[in-house]
Symmetry: C2
C-alpha cells in the first residue's frame, strides 16, 4: 500500500469516494459559485483567494458585522468582480443565504459554536459545506456532521490548511513511498502563544490590551471564553489533520481511544496581571484551560499519537510534528530527519534535500499559484480542493468523517481530564466503514 505510486492510487480513488451516484455522475461545472458565512479576518482571507480564481463566483456574503461586509465588498470591487449579495442583521441571516439557488458551496469562517450548525444547514440545502477548524465542539456535533452527510450525500470538507503545508505533504509522500517503513508513533500539536489573540484593547492594533468578550476585537470577542470555561485540547486539527492523512484515519485505520492530562493554568492570568495590573477586572477571571494539555491517542492499527495544546505561554510557534516508523523519523522542530542507512549513523540531518526530492506533485504543479496565498501557500490548496470538488461534483478529499474524528479530540480530552485522565473511546464515526474505505487525500496532482 505505502509504496504504490500516485498514479496507481488515483485509479483506486475513483471507486473509493462514498458519494451518491447522482452527484458523481453529473457533468462537470466550469465554475464554483460560493457563498461566505463569516467574513471576518479568516473569512476575508479565503475570500481574497477565491477572488483570484477565474473558476469561482462569489454570489453572497454573510456577517453580523457591517464593517466586515464593507471590507469584503471592497475586496470584491478591487478584484473587478460583481458586488455580492449581503446577508446580515441577525445571527440566523445565513439561513436566507442558504435559500439561494445560485450557490454551490459555502465557506464557513465564523466563531466555533456556529461551525456545525452552519455546516449542517448548508448540507441540508444541498450546498457543499467548507467548514473552518475545528468543525465541532461536542461529540453530538461531530455526529451531526456525520449523520447529515450520510442523510444528504452532500459533502462537508473541514478546511484544515496544514494538511497542505509543503513539508507536511512531502512527508506524506515519503510515508506513502515507505521511506519511514511502517509508521509506529506520531506527534503533533498546536503550540502557539495566543495571548495576543485571546486579549486586545478592542481595536485592530496589535496591542497589549487585556480585554476579551464584548470589549475586545476579533477572535478575543468569542474565542477566549473557551479558555475560561473549558479544559481540554481546544484546537487539535492543525496537528491531527496531517497525522490523520498519514495514518489513513477513517480509511483503513481509526482513532480508538484517548487519554488527556492538563497542566495547571497560569499563563493567561499572569498575562492579565503583567499587562493590565492586578486591579484590572479580568485579574479575577479563573481560566479553566490548562496551559499545556497533552492527549495520547491509540489507533486501530497500533500507532500512538501525542497531541499537544499549548497556547497560554510565551514560546516560539510549533506544530510539533514527529513522524516515526520502523526505518526512521522526521521532526519539524529544526527540520530534523533520520533514516537508517541513509542518514549519518545516529545523527540528525536536515530534511532539506528530502523536501526537494519528495516535494508533493500538487506543490510541484501549483507552486506559483499558491505562493502569495495565506499561511505560506497552504490556504491556496485547501480552497483549491474545495472548489475543484464542487466543479467535479465529487466528494471532498477531507470529509465529514475527518471533521468528526479530528474535532472529537476536543470533547474527548475535556471528558478525560474531568475524569482524572481516564481513557475515552472514540466514537466509530464511519459505522465501521473505515475497515474498507480507501485513502483519497492528495493522491495525485489534481487537488
Amino acid at each position: 500500500m505505502q509504496r504504490r505510486s500516485f498514479i496507481q492510487t488515483s485509479l483506486l480513488a475513483a471507486t473509493a469516494v462514498g458519494i451518491a451516484p447522482t452527484i458523481i455522475m453529473g457533468k462537470e461545472n466550469r465554475k464554483a459559485r460560493l457563498g461566505f458565512l463569516g467574513v471576518g479576518l479568516r473569512g476575508r482571507s479565503h475570500l481574497r483567494q477565491a477572488l483570484r480564481r477565474d473558476d469561482v463566483i462569489v454570489n453572497a456574503i454573510c456577517d453580523i458585522d457591517a464593517d466586515a461586509l464593507a471590507a469584503s465588498q471592497e475586496l470584491i470591487k478591487k478584484a473587478g468582480k460583481k458586488k455580492a449579495a449581503e446577508y446580515t442583521g441577525s445571527e440566523y441571516a445565513f439561513q436566507k443565504l442558504l435559500e439561494r439557488d445560485d450557490i454551490d458551496g459555502v465557506i464557513i469562517a465564523t466563531p466555533w459554536l456556529w461551525h456545525t450548525p452552519m455546516a449542517v444547514a448548508a448540507m441540508k440545502t444541498g450546498k457543499y459545506a467548507g467548514v473552518e477548524v475545528s468543525a465541532a465542539n461536542s461529540l453530538q456535533e461531530c455526529w451531526d456532521l456525520v449523520n447529515t452527510y450520510e442523510e444528504t450525500n452532500v459533502p462537508c470538507m473541514i478546511l484544515e490548511n496544514v494538511c497542505y503545508r509543503r513539508d507536511v505533504m512531502a512527508i506524506l509522500n515519503m510515508v506513502r513511498k515507505g521511506v519511514f517503513g511502517e509508521l509506529v508513533h506520531l506527534e503533533c500539536g498546536y503550540q502557539h502563544d495566543l495571548r495576543h489573540v485571546k486579549f486586545n484593547d478592542g481595536t485592530p492594533s496589535r496591542s497589549d490590551g487585556v480585554e476579551f468578550g464584548d470589549k475586545a476585537y476579533s477572535e478575543a470577542r468569542w474565542r477566549t471564553l473557551h479558555s475560561v470555561k473549558r479544559n481540554g485540547d481546544l484546537y487539535p486539527t492543525h496537528g491531527i489533520g496531517p497525522v490523520g492523512t498519514m495514518l489513513d484515519i477513517n480509511r483503513g485505520n481509526r482513532f480508538v481511544s484517548l487519554t488527556a492530562t492538563a497542566s495547571k493554568s497560569r499563563g493567561l492570568h499572569d498575562y492579565i496581571i503583567e499587562k493590565g495590573g492586578s486591579d484590572h477586572p479580568n485579574a479575577d477571571v479563573r481560566f479553566r484551560l490548562g496551559d499545556v494539555v497533552t492527549s495520547v491517542i491509540k489507533t486501530a492499527n497500533g500507532e500512538t499519537i501525542i497531541v499537544q495544546h499549548d497556547t497560554n505561554l510565551p514560546r516560539p510557534y510549533s506544530l510539533g510534528f514527529r513522524v516515526q516508523g520502523t526505518k526512521g523519523l522526521w521532526m519539524d522542530i529544526h527540520d530534523s530527519l533520520y533514516i537508517e542507512g541513509t542518514s549519518p549513523d545516529h545523527r540528525w540531518e536536515s530534511d532539506k534535500s528530502y523536501m526537494t526530492e519528495y516535494d508533493h506533485p500538487l506543490w510541484k504543479k501549483y507552486e506559483n499559484l499558491a505562493s502569495g496565498a495565506g499561511h505560506g501557500g497552504m490556504d491556496w490548496f485547501v480552497l483549491h480542493a474545495f472548489v475543484e470538488s464542487i466543479k467535479r461534483k465529487v466528494d471532498t478529499p477531507l470529509d465529514a468523517y475527518d471533521a468528526a474524528a479530528w474535532s472529537a479530540i476536543s470533547p474527548l480530552s475535556e471528558r478525560s481530564i474531568s475524569m482524572g485522565s481516564a481513557p475515552q473511546p472514540f466514537p466509530n464515526f464511519t459505522r465501521s466503514k473505515w475497515i474498507k474505505r480507501k485513502p483519497v487525500f492528495a493522491l495525485d496532482d489534481s487537488y
Copy 2:
C-alpha cells in the same frame, strides 16, 4: 524559593536531611571503603572512577563471572591499589561480602532483578546502598527500598548520573533562579536505539548478531528478556531523575498519577529478520514491549510530565528534555531555548550562552576532575556524591524515596497499558512527608 541563592539554600539544607541524628552527628571519615556488587561493564566503569580517587578504598568485589573479576583486579593493579577480596560462585555470594566490617557502602551494578534485593541487604547490614538504575521493577520493590531505609536509617542512593549532566545542572540552576518562571510542563525520556545492546553474537564485538539470553554477551544476556515479557517504560530514570530534581519531587511536590500508552511492537522483530533471517529461531519470539511507550504524569503542584521510552527503532539518541515555565522553555533537542523578553521574539535561540552563565557551581569547581570520566563527566559526579555522603556520614542527595518514585514509573506504566491506559495512582512513598521535606540536591558546590 526558586530565586534563593545557593548559599541561602545550603544553610537550609543542613536542617533538611532526613537522616538519623546518630549518623549525621558522627565524625567525618577521610576515606570511603567500598564494595562492588557486579563488576560487568557498568560496574567496572564505576570501579575505574573509584580507583582514581584518593578518598576511596576498594576492599571487595563480587560477580558470578570470573572474567569480570579478573578484569577488575587488573584495573585495581594498574591503579597501584591493593587487590580486592573476591566474592563469587553463587548468585548469593554478595551476602558474604556484606558481612565484612571494612565496607562503608556498596555500588550495585547487577542485572535489574538484583537491584532491590541487594540494596535492601546492604542497608540491613549498615552499608550505604548505591544502586544503579532503575532501582526497582515492581511497586513492592519500591516499597522495599523505602521501608528498609526507614527501618535502618541507612541511606540508599539511586545512581542516576543524568542528574549531573552539565546542561541539565545548568537548567536546574536556571529553574531555581526563576529564569523559566513557574514550571508548568516538562518532558523527558529514554530514546535510544538499543538494538545492538539487546542483541549480539555472544562475543564482546559490536556485532550484528541477533542472540539474547544464554547465547548472548553482556546486557543482552538478561536485559532483552524484559522486552519479551514486559510492556511499559522499562527505563525511566535517566529522564525522570533530572525532572524530579527540577520539580522538587518528594520535597514539596510529588507524582500523583500516570497514564501510559504503548505503540505496536515492530522494531526488535524486524531487526532479527533483517540481521538473522526469518529462519533464525528468534524470528518467532513475540516481543511484548511496544516500540514507543508514552507516559503522562500529573504532579501534586499541577505540572504535567511526558516520559517516553523508545529503544527498539533506528533513531538518534535523545533524552528528549523539555522544561517549560511561565517565562519560557528549554529543549535539549538542538539545544533550543526561549525566554520571553530575552530571546528574539517568537524564535528559538541556542542555549549556549546560558549554559555558560548558569553553569552549576559543582561543574565549575570539579570540571577538571570530571572530564575524562564516563558519560561526559556525569559519572564522576554521581560517584562523588555517593562517596562524599559516606565520608560525611550524611544522607545521600538522591535517596530511597527518589529511587522508589522514579522507578515506580515502570510498574505503573505496565499496569496502565494492561488496563487500556487507565490512570494509575503513585504510591505516596514518603507517607506524606513530601509536604514538608526540603530540596537537598546539588544546592551548592560540595557534592
